[in-house]
Symmetry: C2
Subunit: 303 residues, 2 copies
């Protein structure tokens, strides 16, 4: 059985795991990122964790069949560096891949985390057996990944499928990326909570609070949720028209809202996409849950 | 030298050509479509034209290295039929590919015309040597085609890259496709002319008239053009974020506006796309002009 080392780089934690080719996680662990202390210190902690996990799995670095690293983008996959990562201020242009390769003595596959998650859902989750998938992660931000002709599509610099930056309102809200009307700046978890706080003046509201208020049919929450679904549905419809997929898969914390999210999104996305392309396309929940980070990194090394 | 038969099916004319693998058109011709007389009569005329052109090229059907057919979508490439084509009313579900294959005694490659055009620009035109391209045709309607990892991406049913139906205004103008805020319903040649007529009350205005009025700095025309460029630029930025291409290529009649179109689109698209993805992406004119129809059909048979 092939096994790989999988590393998931986030703004809060650095997770690692030894994962088998069938998607079974053999050993796993995490250390805090502490991004303010800089990338060098963080990578030292991460490399220590990796060596420990490889040992716990009864393996050596040389016995691994690959190493995969996933991180929030944007990144330059060819040079192995992050480009102005919003959650990892100060890590821009740090030689992330080089440092890991030096530390491990192995080459490393570097992937945008949402693309890696799409690959994991394709191999181990809600997209098994399909050739054409669009995956969205609806979380603090909104990321995307696409499987086209059975393979992960990475783009010219490894940044394909930044679906959180589809622009759904050409003259609308500004986005920190420089665009306007970006999906992420309206419908991500943090954007939903921010819009709810602005609307109600209640400064402690979270996205789960909003979902609870929608279930309780509070009018402000229902109106905010309906408009959020319309924007997300228009974004999904645009990806149906652009990628002509067989299935849309949604993961990330916001999908905890369940059918309150999936029912309107299915209806709106199918209604807004071109009929010939919408036919037969389902909008389904991701299946890998919290494991998607390390499974994505593993899948990027395996496939 | 390999040669193929190329067929371009449009609402006004049916064009055909014998094309060499290097993109040289050996013989060409056209017959009127007369869509109101139905597909069977049109295909009979088309098959007569094809036999004549093959003869003029000094070839036989059996000596050809393939047959490619391009048509405006949406279509079902697997079944070889058009699906509710707006310019070919009554042709829906007609066994187009089957009839051609029966008539020629050869198998036929069936392609969306904008995807075929993208392939032609990739092999013979403005995209030579690149692996990641987004092509837009800005014409009566707006079509798209994408070259990803060096290959044409067709999607699950052969309808990928319906880029005229990216939705740039989630609560905006309705589109005949059923969506709202679609690029095509605002920025295609016919939409520009329609908006200009509505704005001025001058019922004979065409898109070239609008372009002339913009050059003459007529305020109504400048305002209309500026807003059109903002919507098109947002659409192009969305495709940069979605596909992470190396180049954007624009073809079709509206590009006759030249730098009046390309200068603002370059500026707006680069300004609105994520900086890491916008870097190095140019927005360039297509190079194949009126030959793109048959060259696209030829390219789909050749590559």
């Amino acid at each position: 059985v092939h096994s790989v080392l999988a590393i998931d780089i986030g703004g809060t934690k650095l997770a690692a795991a030894v994962v088998r080719e069938d998607g079974v996680v053999v050993t796993r662990g995490r250390v805090p990122t502490q991004p303010e202390k800089g990338p060098a210190a963080a990578l030292e902690r991460l490399l220590g964790l990796c060596r420990q996990l490889i040992g716990e799995a009864g393996l050596t670095v040389d016995a691994l069949d690959g190493v995969g690293v996933a991180s929030a983008g944007p990144l330059d996959a060819r040079r192995g560096v992050l480009l102005s990562p919003p959650n990892l201020v100060g890590w821009s242009e740090f030689p992330l891949v080089f440092t890991l390769e030096e530390g491990l003595g192995r080459s490393v596959r570097f992937e945008n985390d949402a693309s890696a998650a799409a690959l994991a859902e394709h191999r181990f989750g809600a997209g098994r057996g399909l050739d054409h998938l669009v995956y969205f992660t609806l979380s603090t931000g909104i990321g995307g990944g696409v499987i086209l002709d059975g393979r992960l599509y990475r783009g010219a610099t490894g940044n394909a499928a930044e679906l959180g930056h589809l622009q759904l309102s050409y003259d609308g809200w500004p986005c920190p990326c420089g665009g306007r009307g970006c999906l992420e700046a309206f419908a991500s978890g943090s954007a939903i909570a921010r819009r709810a706080r602005e609307k109600t003046g209640r400064s402690t509201l979270t996205t789960p609070d909003v979902v609870e208020a929608v279930r309780a049919k509070e009018p402000w929450a229902v109106a905010l949720w309906d408009e959020t679904m319309e924007v997300l549905g228009a974004g999904i419809a645009s990806t149906i028209n652009a990628f002509n997929p067989q299935r849309i898969i949604l993961g990330g914390g916001v999908t905890a809202a369940g059918e309150l999210l999936f029912e309107p999104l299915r209806r709106i996305a199918r209604g807004r996409a071109m009929p010939a392309l919408a036919k037969g396309v389902d909008v389904m929940p991701a299946q890998l849950g919290d494991d998607v980070g390390v499974l994505g990194a593993a899948a990027s090394a395996l496939f």
